[in-house]
Amino acid sequence: MTESAIATFALVGNPNCGKTALFNALTGGRQKVANYAGVTVERKEGQVLLPDGRRIRLVDLPGTYSLRARSPDEAITRDAVLGRLKDEPAPDVILCVADATNLGLVLRLALELKATGRPVVLVLNMIDIAERQGVVIDIQALSEGLGAPVAATVATRKRGLQPLLEIAAAQIGRGAGEGGPNASWREPSTADVRAAHRRARDLMRATVRPPSRPDTFTGRLDDVLLHPLGGVLVLLGVLFLMFQAVFTWAAPAQDLIEAGFLALGSASAAVLPAGWMTGLVVDGLIAGVGSVLIFLPQILILFLFILLLEDSGYMSRAAFLMDRIMGGAGLHGRAFIPLLSSFACAVPGIMSTRVIDSRRDRLTTILTAPLMTCSARIPVYTLIIAALIPDVRIGGFLSLQGLVMFGLYAAGILSALAVAFVIRRVFWRGGGEPFMMQLPDYKLPEPGNLARELGQKAWAFISRAGRVILPLMVLVWVLSTWPAPPQGAEGPPISYSAAGQLGRWLEPVFAPIGFSWEMVVALIPGMAAREVAVAALGAIYAVGGEEGALAEILARQWSLASGLAFLAWYVFAPQCVATLAVVRRETGGWLWPLVMFAYMLGLAYGGAFLVFQGARLLGGG
């Protein structure tokens, strides 16, 4: 497909200008999402059919206000526009996308793009909203003043796309042979930026008549949503709704997936010959993939909420409301989004730290994200609480079990804030990155775009489950299965395996925090993914997958102190290879995953020690 493309067009624009909607409208289904070589900036490319039947490649570049890059995303936009990326042809035509209701800043960007020497087309997107507000744009005069063709579109309604493509196609081949593009581009100075602003403003005055019916909706909504107190209450309500949805709406789908994988497992066991082959396929592959995919419904619901909040324009308001509160702990307001995602899974949470410009703020967020209670901890918490915490109500209505669950969530949040505080006040002192972000106009999210983005997130999660988690699950299965117990051996087979021997060998190390060797063994497969510890405990205590029965066994075998220590361990322990792998990828080395592993392990051991010894003193031993 790529061979037949005759040229490359690149979409550049401010964040929130409708650039991605335009990309989706132009490419339809013909797009692929990948990462740029060496960095984890999302790269969206698609094929577009020109009106004359030829094909072009269309690249959607990360949103930016300037070619002076500050974040990894913006550096990609700059390097792509300047043709500095390896293996990436420089764009033949730059489509500078503008929100037609808000031209001021993007005209300056358009001037900066023109300075690269490449052909630029200014796209006035959302022209319908501008018209409704009574904005009148003299397109002819704007085009002459800017020295670049101008097209008007409504991406969400696919209006104006063919004229845009015709105008852009006419630009192919221009711009070359003028002493080479980019020759004239340099980082603008403050004087350059001021001069460009003046030019942009003069251009605006001459060609754009301001709205006769300006949008008052955003302002009125902000009066409520940014109200110092009311806004925070609304935000808490939104978060509450989101968690309710993640945990209750996802349950039926999760039950279905679990039942499906169980059925697949028993069907495979019936077909395959008995022996290790069956064990590998049923317990290793099928159970392994199933234990990860079971989180797909929760992750989809969480992402649906996050996409809704982002597309509607509310997310930047949430960052505004949370900035000072999180700033007290040394976190940036924009860290709110990654930390929120980490309640589903730290992996997408850490990937979304890319919205934070400063490396230090970003690293602080990455290091604290895994302390948020991810959904993989829930099965472990549920099991231990059911086994050891009495099902009583305090004061007649507060469930003690629910209270412990809440306490575990709170422990995660508070420890994340404390860790961020220590990092920023002890290790990286000095001022923080400025918090400056646009508060875009509110708009209704477009269902088509929402569905497409959600599909891409789901696919990214599934493919990662296949590529990263699956091999680990197989490795864990091998370690917990071999060597096989000798003939006539007593006790669970896992105790003779490599994992079992390692557990016994490590037992003295874990004795001060109250862990028996069985608990230590369960931690080893739990390294691949936290929730696997539940299945491992089941295997060790030689019971089936029935959770109620396992909880009864644990209630007999474990002391309350050991159980609480196990919970404390799980709040902190770096038990997720996928998280460490994504930290390595995002930070470009092993240093930060190792730092994360070490500090979380230290907290886990220290926390479990305090809880175990404290509970024993209070008579819970």
């Binding site: 800043l105 902000d222 409301l321 307001g333 106009d441």
Partner: protein, 100 residues
């Protein structure tokens, strides 16, 4: 801050970082070097960022909202765009009052 106040042109100009919701003004100057080294950015970089977000001499600014704790950060309208920023950075934007 007192020594900087004396640099201002007249008694009526004020800093965006000290403005309350409802205050309006036209930007007189954007002066990053007045910053008291509280930010991680060097003054030059901060000035560029303010400029890139539309805080440029002659722009109309209105303070719309402020945060719960210490009235920080603030949400302002710069010409036609809404922007959120902290008061610390907003101290570098000097306004001359404009009637509502």
């Amino acid at each position: 801050m007192s020594n900087h106040a004396s640099k201002m042109d007249d008694g009526t100009s004020f800093r965006l970082g000290e403005a309350r919701p409802g205050d309006r003004g036209v930007i007189l100057r954007v002066l990053a070097p007045t910053l008291q080294a509280a930010s991680a950015l060097d003054p030059h970089e901060l000035e560029l960022r303010l400029l890139e977000f539309g805080f440029v001499e002659g722009a109309h600014v209105e303070v719309l909202h402020e945060g719960l704790l210490g009235g920080d950060p603030i949400a302002v309208k710069v010409d036609d765009m809404r922007v959120a920023l902290r008061r610390e950075e907003a101290m570098n934007v000097i306004l001359t009052p404009e009637a509502s």
